[in-house]
């Protein structure tokens, strides 16, 4: 996980510096969001059904018109579930009774496009967004206290919608509320996709 955080930190640095270098004054905003994530499909059915209240996202947005913005996003989410003791078939004639714990941390890093059909006027500005990139996935599975860990990188694609709510009529800062669907075709060790539906709330503010 330390390695993943280092990679994320470097990515964030590059995103921030490149956006601020190329942007005109007032064009670059930053989002910081609390993120609540709900596993979907195979992720929910076979790995972790608990929703995760432990996450956050950040996004650098460069508005190149009143309706369109590009940006870079990153995040962190921690998923965990402990299943009651059960007997698992672990070999042709081998069975293991154990409490099974699954622990997954994801760090998505994405390029994003945001479309605000009503532009940047109005008290509430709806938006649609889409993104794609890489998700660093740290998957740990424990039988009792005995665990194994797999670190990997997976493709991630995201579609989202939400609203920007400026603090004032002329303010470039405000609240952001929204939801995203994340497609993460993990497919490692037979575990399948790690798709999620996330809701987030945060603030945005100009950084240049």
């Amino acid at each position: 996980m330390k390695k993943i955080l280092n990679i994320a930190a470097v990515t964030i640095f590059l995103l921030v510096t490149s956006a601020t270098v190329h942007a005109q004054k007032g064009d670059v905003k930053f989002n910081l969001n609390y993120n609540y994530s709900m596993p979907m499909g195979n992720f929910k059915d076979n790995i972790i059904s608990n929703s995760s209240p432990r996450g956050g996202t950040g996004e650098i947005i460069y508005n190149f018109s009143s309706k369109l913005a590009i940006g870079g996003a990153f995040g962190y989410q921690d998923y965990y579930q402990k299943y009651p003791r059960a007997v698992y078939k672990t070999g042709p004639n081998e069975t293991t009774s154990a409490v099974l714990s699954n622990s997954i941390q994801t760090v998505p890093v994405m390029a994003k496009l945001t479309y605000s059909p009503a532009g940047n006027g109005g008290a509430v500005q709806p938006y649609l967004s889409g993104g794609a990139g890489a998700a660093f996935v740290d998957f740990k599975q424990y039988l009792g206290e005995f665990g194994s860990a797999t670190n990997s990188v997976s493709f991630v694609a995201q579609a989202g919608a939400g609203v920007f709510i400026p603090f004032g009529k002329l303010s470039a800062a405000g609240l952001r509320l929204g939801a995203d669907y994340n497609y993460v075709p993990y497919n490692k060790d037979g575990f399948g996709a790690l798709n999620t539906l996330d809701v987030h709330a945060g603030v945005y503010f100009p950084i240049r």
Binding site: M1, L5, A8, A9, I12, F13, V16, T17, T20, F30, L32, R54, G55, G56, G58, Y76, D78, Y80, K82, R85, V87, T90, G91, P92, N93, E94, T95, T96, S97, A98, V99, S101, S103, Q105, K140, Y142, L143, G144, E145, F146, G147, S171, A172, A173, F205, P206, I207, R208
Partner: protein
Amino acid sequence: MKMKSSALITVLLGVIVFVSSCSKQPLNNLTQDETRIYITDRDSSANFATYKTFSISDSVAVIHDQYANKALTASDSAYIAATTKYMQQRGYVLVSRSQNPDIGVDVSRVYSTTGVINYYDYSGYYGGYYDPYYWGYSDYGYYMPYAYDVYQITEGAMSVDMLDLKNASTNKKINFIWTGLIRGEGIFSADNADTQVKALFDQSTYIKANN
């Protein structure tokens, strides 16, 4: 409301470190009982209904890396008693070694400082120190027709093995027909012995004499 990028990066890194520190640590969310795992494996060709009697060692084999000796602590006695109890509950009759038991039962404590135990190696220890003392079939080698994956054992494990003595002379070897392995915290406790051996038998319903 505007921030310099260096300040922003500092804030972001702080947020990342804070959020990641909020992660659930799986090992911190386990009770002592939940840390334990119970693994059983069997020889699929063995028909447990054909065995009627068993004998169990009166001490525990302590296997430590390349060395083995015998011991009998309070915990060891509790494991032997519990194993005897559950074998009898499944219909097997306890006899002495001199009465030609169908099944020989050994209870072992296994430790490894190297961190890895391969069960083929483990079974090989019986061919050394324990063979003459335990079952008196020194002319025969031991054979495990099944094998666990290689398990990392650093804190120790408790093992119960069943050996096919009934067919030893026919097979010209002593086959392991069942192995139960207990790992986790608090396993070397006399208070926990019964429930742990029970767990091994509970997941091995095929162990049943046909009386």
